[in-house]
Amino acid sequence: MKISIKDKIGPRCIIKEDGQKIYDEIHGPLKRAEKVTLDFNGVSQFASPFFNFAIGQLLKDIPEADLRRLLQIENLNETGKLVVERVIENAAKYHGDKDYRKIVDDILEQQARESQ
């Protein structure tokens, strides 16, 4: 399966609604272990919400190694690649369990240190 992002979304991959459209199209095939190619030829502007929804969400139920093997990304420029990598990195953190009680304790500890 190959999707031309420019044909589907346009030259700007910015908002989460557009990212969701791509996710809806590729999630099923990727879950079935089919290869998917996203072609970014003609796309020039990128922001993180698009990739959070198009790709970051996939990590909820597809392991990162499988995703990297099955999902091919073509013609994505350097800026876009940087955003994708950051989104994948943060999505992995997001989908892990967080101990917010400990987070609050840590923040308060740092506050106390700084006020000394």
Binding site: R12, S44, P49, E78, T79, V83, E89, N90
Partner: protein
């Protein structure tokens, strides 16, 4: 009808200037306020003040008050010209419309208008020819700046939208963008989120500075059920590479990100909302892709 007269002083973009803006917000932060802004003492008005005052006027109106910008009191010709040029004066009752120049138009967004905001950033902000960058690099920078608007709409809960203004200063060769919302503020949002997971008494102790620091760390997000936490991180990284500066005033918290790192402080004067004030250096040598020339963007 009792009309409050608020003096607008000369406003730059330092700590004192932001304190003046938040003090003004405190003076009119109620329902049914009728306000007249007087410019008799104003000799200079930076874009942060323009965006803030525009948003404040809409906030007052949304609370069933009235606002008059008393253009007859604005005797400083340079300030008047700037406010006419960037369209602010025309929006608020002056019989003039904006024109092209050093000013970047004053802008109001009631909703997250992707193409409108991206066009503004691409063609009116960076794309006016004062920063000599390739189209590819221009697009990269604009994508980072868009994260500010996205954050304002996604997180602040603003009822009246987002307000922005910018300017290019030839002498310093700085490009400025200020984005203002009068939503709940980042510390309030972070506390509200953490309160769902930890005891209220502990969360209440979190300072504005601590909340901002948490929000600015990669991977931290207050969104539930969707990944996030990359936008501010990407923006911070860009600001550092550019040797630029990003300042954020939100509730009582203050953050500054520049080439020396990031610092978080608590301020005496608080306001409900967030100001993101960015200064980029228009030095083309700072902006390059690895395959164009060094250094790396």
């Amino acid at each position: 009808m009792f009309q409050k007269v608020i003096q607008i002083p000369t406003l730059n973009d330092g700590t004192w200037d932001f304190q003046q803006l938040f003090t003004i917000w405190n003076q009119v932060n109620d329902y049914f306020e009728d306000v007249r802004f007087d410019f008799s003492n104003c000799r200079f008005l930076r874009p942060n003040a323009v965006a803030f005052l525009g948003g404040l006027a809409r906030l007052i109106e949304s609370r069933l008050g009235t606002v008059v910008f008393d253009w007859g009191t604005l005797h400083n010709q340079a300030v008047m010209n700037n406010l006419r040029q960037n369209g602010f004066a025309g929006v608020f009752g002056h019989p003039s419309s904006g024109w092209d120049g050093n000013s970047i138009p004053y802008r109001e967004d009631q909703f997250l208008d992707m193409n409108g905001i991206m066009d503004y950033l691409t063609y009116n902000w960076i794309g006016k020819g004062w920063v000599h960058v390739s189209a590819r690099l221009r697009d990269a920078i604009v994508g980072r700046m868009w994260e500010i608007y996205n954050n304002a709409f996604e997180h602040s809960g603003t009822q009246i939208g987002v307000f922005s203004c910018g300017q290019h200063f030839w002498r310093q060769n700085d490009l400025i963008l200020s984005v203002v919302d009068f939503g709940q503020g980042i510390p309030a949002k972070v506390r509200g989120f953490l309160r769902q997971h930890a005891e209220e008494t502990l969360v209440a102790k979190l300072t504005g500075a601590s909340c901002l620091r948490w929000a600015f760390q990669a991977g931290n997000t207050t969104k539930v059920g969707e990944p996030g936490g990359s936008g501010l991180d990407l923006l911070k990284e860009f600001i550092r590479i550019n040797h630029g500066k990003m300042e954020v005033y939100s509730n009582e918290g203050y953050a500054i990100i520049d080439k020396d790192g990031e610092r978080y402080e608590n301020r005496d004067i608080s306001f409900e909302g967030t100001v993101v004030h960015i200064t980029l250096r228009c030095d083309e040598n700072l902006y390059r892709f690895s395959d164009e020339a060094e250094p790396l963007f």
